[in-house]
Symmetry: C2
Subunit: 414 residues, 2 copies
């Protein structure tokens, strides 16, 4: 185990070089990193088998083992992910605003890298390469704090990525694995001045621990307790399709639907119809008292369960009096990720999108579209549910900050 501070200082030095590296150098490094990953395939898969074996002995669930497991196809996907970044515009150097003061001083606001980014994540080795690639393309050094369950895989992947950096002539300390016990996470969270931002990627408890424990600025990602309100003016055929898509297409992700709100005026007819479709798709519906009274297949929802994500084929359902009640309900329970209204009334769409406070608000579309890939960003480091810096899907520009550059000819302030 390396000590944390020397490693963070080395990342800071590497970040200085990366900050002025031209796009061609960064793109060449991404290609070299992809090549190095494939060159190291045997070592990486052998390391991964060690992690899986230890995970089995330690009683990891099948779902966790599946997320941890690598194979040739997944590794090729990681390499392709790095290559895909080559085609994306470099955000660094973009002039976001510019003007000239009355006295002739030129002002430009320019995108620059954040510097050193810390990623704290769970036992998903693919995140190691994804996060390193995105940080690098935006000119940042990255400190990767992966899970101890994936440590052998992460070591092998990081070794390969660093070999790629070196082959391309960029500092290998731009990508570093942070190993060690819980006290190292604490050091990372206290490393103000050395680490510019922390991004936790994982479940609600990981995110909560980082958000409340860190002195380094954090970008909060991911928790999605997403609601969908079926207004009495909604197209009900469309509604069934959107609800199924939002719940069933990939239930384990943060933009999946967790709570369905149905306008009271159409509940008696629509709720049984929705439950038909949901039950056919294998979804268990957990209802409030009003919902349970409408369909015997609905099981009573846990009293205090309306704030949590299921991330499974389960859906809560509540009957609400009207649009006002739906907005009030969402305000009480939203995690600020993605909230949907199905309506044909322009005034209702307008009120819902204005009054519901979330990273994304949707009208007549599935919340599964809230995703960097779907948005056309070409990459995604996560979906921010906080309000500072970045909100919603985060891609390369969100991995930068800005700097004002003022150029004069001797001007002084009167």
């Amino acid at each position: 185990m390396t000590e944390f501070l020397p490693l963070a200082r080395a990342a800071r030095v590497a970040a200085h070089t990366l900050a002025t590296a031209p796009r061609t150098a960064k793109d060449a490094a991404l290609v070299a990193m992809a090549d190095a990953l494939l060159d190291a395939q045997d070592a990486i898969l052998a390391a991964n088998r060690q992690d899986i074996e230890r995970g089995g002995l330690n009683g990891l669930t099948d779902a966790l083992i599946d997320r941890l497991a690598l194979n040739e196809v997944r590794l090729a996907g990681m390499a392709d992910g790095l290559r895909d970044l080559v085609g994306l515009t470099d955000p660094v150097g973009e002039v976001t605003r510019g003007w000239t003061l009355g006295n002739g001083v030129q002002v430009r606001q320019v995108r620059v890298p954040l510097g050193v980014i810390g990623i704290i994540y769970e036992a998903r080795p693919n995140v190691t390469a994804d996060a390193a690639g995105i940080c690098l393309k935006a000119g940042n050094a990255v400190l990767l704090r992966g899970s101890s369950s994936a440590v052998e895989s992460n070591r092998a992947i990081v070794t390969a990525l660093r070999a790629g950096l070196q082959a391309a002539g960029l500092p290998e300390d731009a990508v570093q694995l942070v190993e060690g016990g819980r006290e190292v996470t604490d050091e990372l969270m206290k490393a103000r001045g050395l680490v510019d931002v922390l991004i936790p990627r994982g479940g609600a408890s990981l995110i909560e621990a980082v958000v409340t424990g860190s002195q380094v600025p954090v970008i909060e990602t991911g928790t999605g307790n997403c609601h969908l309100f079926v207004d009495d003016s909604a197209d009900l055929d469309q509604a069934i399709g959107i609800i199924l898509n939002a719940k069933v297409q990939r239930p384990s992700v943060c933009n999946a639907l967790e709570t369905l709100l149905v306008h009271a005026a159409l509940a008696a007819s629509f709720v049984p119809r929705a439950v038909d479709a949901l039950a056919d798709a294998g979804v268990t519906v957990h209802g409030d008292a009003a919902a349970c009274a409408l369909d015997p297949r609905i099981v009573p929802a846990a009293e205090n369960g309306w704030d949590a994500e299921f991330l499974s084929l389960d859906l809560r359902l509540a009957v609400v009096k009207d649009l006002d009640a739906a907005i009030a309900f969402i305000r009480r329970h939203t995690s600020g990720h993605s909230e949907t209204i199905l309506t044909s009334e322009l005034a209702h769409a307008r009120r819902f999108t204005a009054e519901v406070d979330a990273a994304c608000v949707l009208v007549n579309a599935s919340s599964r579209f809230v995703d960097g890939g779907q948005f056309g960003f070409g990459a995604e480091i996560g979906i921010s549910t906080q309000k500072l810096h970045a909100r919603g899907p985060m891609a390369l520009p969100e991995m930068t900050t800005t700097k004002y550059v003022l150029v004069g000819e001797g001007q002084v302030r009167e």
Copy 2:
């Protein structure tokens, strides 16, 4: 003393109303608040006299008493500040990006208020009205955590501001004073979910306490250990003017010059010339060994003092070998506020602006231009020295976040 939580919850409710308040309503409220301040002039000045009397008994310095003191002119200035906001564009509702997905779903990224903003500040009653006005114009509720030294003044000012809000038909809980001991500041810093962002305004120790103690996201403002490097290619007449302006025009503020770096090749001739001008302006120069050897008027700088702000008519001076050494020096000591190079070499200007990591980098101009007013923003809540969300002078747009609004016609994800 009111309890904190009910007050924060009331702010959240008020924020919901403000978020959808049209510009006309907010502008009318700003005018009403300005009127109410002037109507309450006698009460506010009487309250201020109480604070000043207590401050005198408690041994506040003359400088602090001066910052605390109000009079008719200063109060009129506060009212004018509120009225000036009326003329500024409302950032809320600005569409910052927008596109249409391949399947026809429209995506818009729209500016929306942050929600509830907490301001933690020192005994400057003018900040009470300034901050309330800026937060309100951007659609936010504000919790004002002023100093106990200014409590009577702040109470009287907030009472007037709330009367103005009420007269204009906006919720008076949009502006609230947070009173009580240190434990209330702790509550404010832990109020995740109720308070969206904290902005400390004041000295380095106040900012440090908030930045390290808060679980609510913080925007760090203000500390400015600003350097100026005189390159060997600089126009030396211009240099004297810029150095004097940056140091002397208003030494107590964060964009004032604190450390002068002089290229070794011109040190022998330039340092005595600079000290002539600085001494004439009443500035004490504190030098490193090389500087002290060049001019007997230079006093030795404190060994470990190169990271701090003087905020007075004092200036540190170090001789550096070249541009590389200047950049390395600045990296060691910068607070990330404003850093300046004086040069006629394009390549040096380019390297300095690219390699120095600060909110603002300047070429051949005084760092005193780093200011929301000078930038033409019309208002300023502070100068951010952090990299997340906002960096450099912050005005109305920086008091907002964004929200993605997606509008479809039944689209689902394949």
